[in-house]
């Protein structure tokens, strides 16, 4: 049951007070698929990502992550919220990378990467440290284990954050504008790590403004606007030949 890596969303609705952010979201992401979500700010692209990780709860609709209902279990008449323990367990299978990194500043890079396995899964510290060293090396940060986040550049911090998520062995990785807070010259190093990850068959959902990355790496592309999925299809196809007028207008502005 562990390996699945699929995401299914049907008729997802989500409001913050009077403002409906997600109006009718339908998604179907296969295992190992690299899906980029683009769209203007306020279109709901970050919100849908946060729903898939349980940082926000959906108001209605079906949300299945890794093949099972996420955050809730279904009965004949309703969806009932899972216990915190069950929700946490589901979350460990979905990694999240934030725009502002959100590394724990009170821990070294190594401790950050170890935090999930040790503090959540109760892994052996020595083994977790060894694994964390390997993960840091895999994101190009071998030897940076003893540094605190404040001592690292934005690009390095983001790569530590990716390693921290990977340490939980998730089936799905979510990226919420992972390069938006970075200096232009640091964007490349983070995208390189993500490309590397994509080659390994990880399911990835990436909210991004990096059209080059979408064109090069993504399998599918979703264009969102005003709480709806306006267009979805093969990434290169949508970027070069968008069908919907709204997509055409958006791409004209950003490309």
């Amino acid at each position: 049951m562990s390996k699945d890596g699929t995401i299914l969303a049907q008729k997802i609705r989500k409001s913050f007070g009077p403002k409906t952010v997600l109006k009718d979201i339908n998604l179907d992401i296969a295992s190992g698929e690299i899906c980029c979500i683009i769209g203007p700010s306020g279109s709901g692209k970050s919100t849908i990502l946060r729903c898939i990780n349980g940082l926000e709860t959906v108001d209605s609709g079906v949300l299945k992550v890794n093949g099972e209902d996420f955050g809730y279990y279904e009965t004949a008449h309703a969806y009932h919220a899972h216990s915190p323990k069950k929700l946490a367990e589901q979350r460990t299978r979905v990694g999240m990378v934030f725009q502002s990194f959100n590394l724990f500043p009170n821990m070294t890079a190594l401790e950050n990467v170890m935090s999930g396995p040790v503090l959540v899964k109760g892994a052996d510290k020595k083994q977790a440290a060894k694994r964390a060293q390997e993960l840091l090396a895999s994101v190009g940060l071998a030897g940076f284990g003893d540094y605190y986040p404040a001592q690292l550049s934005g690009g390095q911090q983001q790569r530590v954050a990716i390693a921290r998520s990977l340490a939980m062995d998730p089936e799905i990785m979510l990226f919420d504008e992972p390069t938006s807070a970075l200096d232009p010259e640091k964007v490349g190093e983070v995208l390189a790590v993500m490309k590397d990850l994509a080659k390994k068959g990880m399911t990835m959902v990436v909210v991004t403004h990096e059209m080059g990355f979408a064109r090069e790496v993504a399998d599918s592309l979703i264009f969102m606007d005003d709480g709806y999925v306006v267009e979805r299809g093969d990434a290169r196809e949508v970027l070069s030949n968008p069908q919907e007028p709204r997509t055409q207008a958006f791409l004209q502005q950003v490309l």
């Binding site: 990780n53 349980g54 940082l55 915190p84 323990k85 946490a88 367990e89 979350r91 460990t92 979905v94 990694g95 999240m96 934030f98 502002s100 959100n102 590394l103 724990f104 500043p105 009170n106 935090s115 999930g116 503090l119 959540v120 090396a137 994101v139 190009g140 940060l141 071998a142 030897g143 940076f144 003893d146 540094y147 605190y148 404040a150 001592q151 790569r159 954050a161 921290r164 998520s165 939980m168 490349g188 190093e189 390189a192 790590v193």
Partner: protein
């Protein structure tokens, strides 16, 4: 004709007449007060010296220190509980904590101390036991609320309200992103609190707590109204006998001053250590090496 090159000439600050006047007046006032304090025989410095290390004064000082430490320790623990309750998403719990904090911060400590001392008027007997059964023992509240117990209870409960606000302020200084990062890793609420929130809240909690300790040290003098023989009350007991009121108040004041100064030093050290600017780099952080280690992605 100038002898030094223009670029090397020193710049002279403007001194206003007000500045000179300030110097002269301050020095005159200082000398005046000093002469008066030293020559006025009514200060009775000899008596002050005689009682400064008097046995009952020192015993009072010990009790003051004990009350400070005990009520701070208990108040901080209780305050932590209240702060956690106040940040709870369960409404009745956070409202309960809120009411507690409002009541205890909104009424004078002096009133609270006298209230706890007289609590037996409300509840003459305190029964410890299992509800709805006959098992348990009744305790005479009046006997339980000895002056020192009332002092400890009063100071602790009051301090808890203040500490709760300080700790809660510390919690809310931890960014939302930190909580989301912990949540997305699947951390339990308890682990999140211990490993992520509390360590990051400490920099703002510790200096404020240091201030509270100093405040509490002087605040303990209020319990003298309950007849607890702490520092002030010890001094009062002596001058009630000898009528040397001023010298004994000076003895107590000097001890308060000495202890406050002693506490200020570690307090300012703590404040430096945890100040926002320096806390960005933890003490044990490795020195940054400018050359990048191998394996860095380009």
């Amino acid at each position: 004709m100038s002898s030094i090159e223009a670029a090397l000439k020193p710049r002279i600050r403007l001194r206003t007449p007000g500045e000179y006047a300030g110097w002269v007046l301050s020095i005159l006032a200082g000398i005046g007060i000093l002469v008066s304090v030293l020559t006025n025989p009514n200060f009775k410095w000899g008596v002050v010296a005689q009682y400064f290390t008097h046995e009952s004064i020192l015993r009072g000082l010990m009790l003051t220190i004990f009350l400070t430490l005990a009520s701070m320790a208990l108040g901080t623990l209780l305050g932590l509980g209240l702060a956690i309750m106040r940040s709870s998403h369960v409404k009745p719990i956070s409202i309960a904590a809120n009411i507690y904090i409002t009541l205890f911060r909104g009424t004078p400590v002096l009133v609270q101390l006298i209230f706890w001392f007289n609590i037996s008027a409300l509840y003459p007997n305190l029964t410890i036991g299992i509800p709805f059964t006959n098992i348990g023992t009744a305790i005479d509240t009046n006997a339980l609320m000895a002056p020192i117990t009332a002092a400890l209870v009063g100071l602790t409960l009051n301090e808890a309200a203040y500490m709760a606000e300080i700790i809660r302020g510390g919690f809310s200084s931890v960014g939302k992103g930190q909580i989301e990062a912990a949540d997305s890793l699947g951390m339990s609420a308890g682990t999140r609190m211990r490993k992520v929130i509390i360590p990051q809240a400490m920099p703002s909690i510790i200096p404020a707590t240091g201030n509270q300790v100093i405040g509490m040290f002087k605040g303990t003098s209020l319990v003298s109204v309950l007849g607890v023989a702490e520092l002030l009350q010890s001094a009062q007991l002596i001058y009630a006998r000898t009528y040397e009121t001023i010298p004994l108040l000076l003895v107590a004041s000097l001890w308060y001053l000495v202890m406050t100064l002693l506490l200020s030093y570690p307090q300012s050290k703590l404040e430096q250590k945890y100040s926002r600017a320096t806390s960005r780099l933890p003490r044990k952080a490795k020195k940054v090496v400018l050359t990048e280690p191998e394996g860095t992605l380009r």
